[in-house]
């Protein structure tokens, strides 16, 4: 077997093995020199991203890839002597998983490159990079696993690493307090997830997602498990009214970490969608549960954006906008779920609404990540996130300002940036479902634009202030990190159909195709 064959065959395992290995060895490599450690972590991230792209290419061209750990053959999901139960740990990478992996690879690489400069002045960088790579491991694991208990394990890895990084700056105890809040709520959520896993295992003697989906009866216990999972994962993705931890954690974490926390939140959103569509699908009352998701989405959109307007801390403000954008994803996919049982409505607009919601996951990861990185570049140069103390920075930080404009216009859904394409898909398909919901979504976009007009004016406009006369542009690695994300915002905005046909539609099909997911695992026995 050549090295290339080895990588292609074992790509799902390498996706978590490489960052995990690099995480635990990076402190040791850091003892040699800072440059060696930087090279080590960046090399590991680039290698992981390359593996993610190889795996995604394989999935999009040949279909779902399953990887069975410890089996004689990596595709042998159900051993002959197991009584028909897939007992081993299995990674099931379908188009939806591959879609999330691409997001994690792109944002993770950009953010890590940015971190090499943004965190260079700080101490305890061994811990920073180790925890950051553990976050990468957690996200890749959550979106790849086909085993529900492993989903819980990777969720915990992600939560612990995230809490450590939120507290990284300490900041007179404020960052530690924010991390504590995140940690307690994450643990509470994880307990609910574990309880739901127990319910499934007690009923169906299985932890494998495909096996549970195949045996799903939608009993009262299944309803309880569903509610526990919706509550836990909606809280983890920052849906209103369980969003309170989000502005605290996002504003106190280093900006590079915050940019990746957006992806971490989206991994929970992925988990929520996976449970709704792959576990339950049409066995549940699609209208009731769909409307629950829609209402969570509408609340997130409205409360998120309206709470952003009076904020004075730029990162806290962007955090509220992030909550608002999560609402669009919930709205789009919620409408898709609400009409899932009706083929005519699904074909008329439900599937497009889902595509819009899923497309917006990618777009949000990129433009919101970009906005957090620009906020970090400003903090790096002037040492404050207080909008009242800023002004005139456009004179000194022209590239950062351009990147901010791109991110802000994309977030507000202004053409021709990527946010417009996904929002338009959501507006028009949701309008056919319920015009009032579409109007609310459009009003929220207008308010989002108003929010960023305020931020843009406060930070970049006005005369050059004397206290910032000597401020320089952000360092090159930070600009490159922001530039990669800005380029994707523009390219996805100019060629949205390419993304929709190539990535989004297959992901939406994979998510709704419960039978395909089950047969890819159990049919290969």
């Amino acid at each position: 077997m050549t090295l290339a064959d080895f990588i292609v065959t074992n790509a799902p395992a390498l996706l978590v093995a490489i960052p995990l290995f690099a995480a635990f060895t990076s402190p040791a490599v850091g003892k040699i020199s800072t440059a060696a450690r930087n090279l080590w972590v960046m090399g590991a991230m680039l290698l992981t991203a390359a593996v993610a792209f190889i795996l995604a290419f394989r999935v999009f061209s040949t279909g779902t890839v399953i990887y069975v750990f410890g089996a004689a053959a990596t595709t042998l999901a159900v051993p002959l002597d197991s009584g028909g139960i897939p007992i081993r740990i299995i990674f099931t990478v379908d188009a939806m998983s591959a879609f999330m992996e691409i997001i994690c690879a792109i944002v993770g690489t950009s953010v890590l490159l940015y971190s090499l400069s943004s965190e260079s002045k700080n101490t305890s960088l061994e811990g920073y990079y180790a925890l950051f790579l553990l976050m990468i491991t957690g996200v890749f694991g959550m979106v790849s696993t086909g085993d529900f208990f492993n989903f819980f394990v990777f969720l915990e890895i992600l939560s612990l690493a995230s809490a450590g990084l939120i507290a990284y700056r300490i900041d007179g105890g404020l960052a530690v307090e924010a991390a504590l809040k995140y940690f307690v709520l994450s643990t509470l959520g994880a307990i609910l997830v574990l309880f739901a896993i127990g319910i499934y295992y007690g009923q169906y003697n299985a932890l494998n997602i495909a096996m549970i989906a195949q045996r799903m009866q939608f009993t009262m216990l299944d309803k309880i498990a569903l509610v526990l999972l919706i509550a836990a994962l909606a809280m983890k993705c920052g849906a209103v009214p369980m969003h309170f931890w989000t502005p605290d954690a996002y504003s106190m974490a280093p900006s590079s970490v915050t940019a990746f926390l957006v992806v971490a939140s989206q991994a929970s959103l992925y988990g929520l969608f996976r449970i709704l569509f792959t576990f339950y699908n049409v066995t549940l009352n699609c209208v009731t549960v769909g409307w629950i998701i829609i209402i969570l989405g509408i609340l997130s959109m409205v409360v998120g954006v309206t709470m952003a307007i009076p904020q004075k801390d730029v990162k806290r403000l962007i955090a509220y906008c992030a909550i608002s954008q999560t609402g669009y994803m919930l709205l789009g996919v919620g409408v898709g779920l609400a009409v899932l049982g009706n083929a005519a409505l699904s074909n008329a607009f439900g599937f497009v609404a889902m595509e819009g919601g899923i497309f917006h996951i990618f777009n949000d990861a990129v433009f919101k990540g970009l906005l957090f990185l620009t906020a970090g570049a400003i903090f790096y140069r002037i040492g404050t996130c207080d909008l009242n103390k800023m002004g005139g920075l456009g004179h000194n930080m022209k590239y950062t300002m351009i990147f901010f404009i791109i991110g802000a216009l994309a977030t507000a859904g202004i053409p021709p940036f990527n946010g417009f394409a996904s929002k338009l898909m959501i507006y028009e398909s949701v309008y056919l479902f319920n015009p009032i919901l579409a109007i609310i979504a459009m009003v929220v976009s207008i308010l989002t634009l108003a929010v960023f007009v305020k931020v843009f004016h406060s930070i970049f406009m006005g005369p050059q202030l004397p206290e910032y006369a000597d401020v320089k542009e952000a360092p090159l690695p930070m600009l490159i990190g922001m530039g990669i994300l800005a380029a994707i915002v523009i390219l996805f905005g100019l060629f949205p159909q390419l993304v929709v046909n190539g990535l989004v539609a297959p992901a939406a099909h994979a998510l709704t195709n419960q039978g395909g997911y089950i047969s890819s695992v159990l049919g290969g026995a």
Binding site: L188, W245, T288, V289, G391, H457, S458, L494
Partner: protein, 115 residues
């Protein structure tokens, strides 16, 4: 061809390249009109100084409108809403947990009872 084809939105289409071409054409037309105007701007002269009815120009920091002063009218108009919403964000962890538990309980009632 995927690269140039528009996005189907379920209700209509979105063709960003057509929009971009229209944007560029309009920009060129606007530039040509602007270019036909009289060019009397002279950099570095009194012409570029702000005219403040004969008063002295304030310090740079004093003329910049800070973030807290923006959208004052909007916030006043929605004072009732913000008087409710802002205090709800207490920053107290136990309050966050109460919201989480309350939503979970509500969902149990809705999903358990209605579906």
């Amino acid at each position: 061809m995927d690269l140039l084809s528009p996005v189907q939105t379920g209700y209509g289409v979105w063709a960003p390249l057509a929009w971009l071409i229209a944007f560029v054409v309009v920009t060129i037309v606007v530039y040509l009109i602007w270019n036909m105007g009289e060019s009397s701007y002279k950099k570095g002269t009194d012409q570029v100084r702000p005219y403040l009815s004969g008063n002295a120009e304030p310090e740079k920091g004093a003329v910049h409108i800070r973030a807290s002063n923006l959208y004052w009218g909007y916030l006043q108009a929605l004072k009732g809403y913000y008087d409710t919403m802002v205090p709800m964000h207490t920053g107290i962890l136990t309050d966050y947990i109460v919201w989480f538990v309350a939503v979970t309980a509500l969902l149990l009632v809705i999903v358990g009872g209605l579906s």
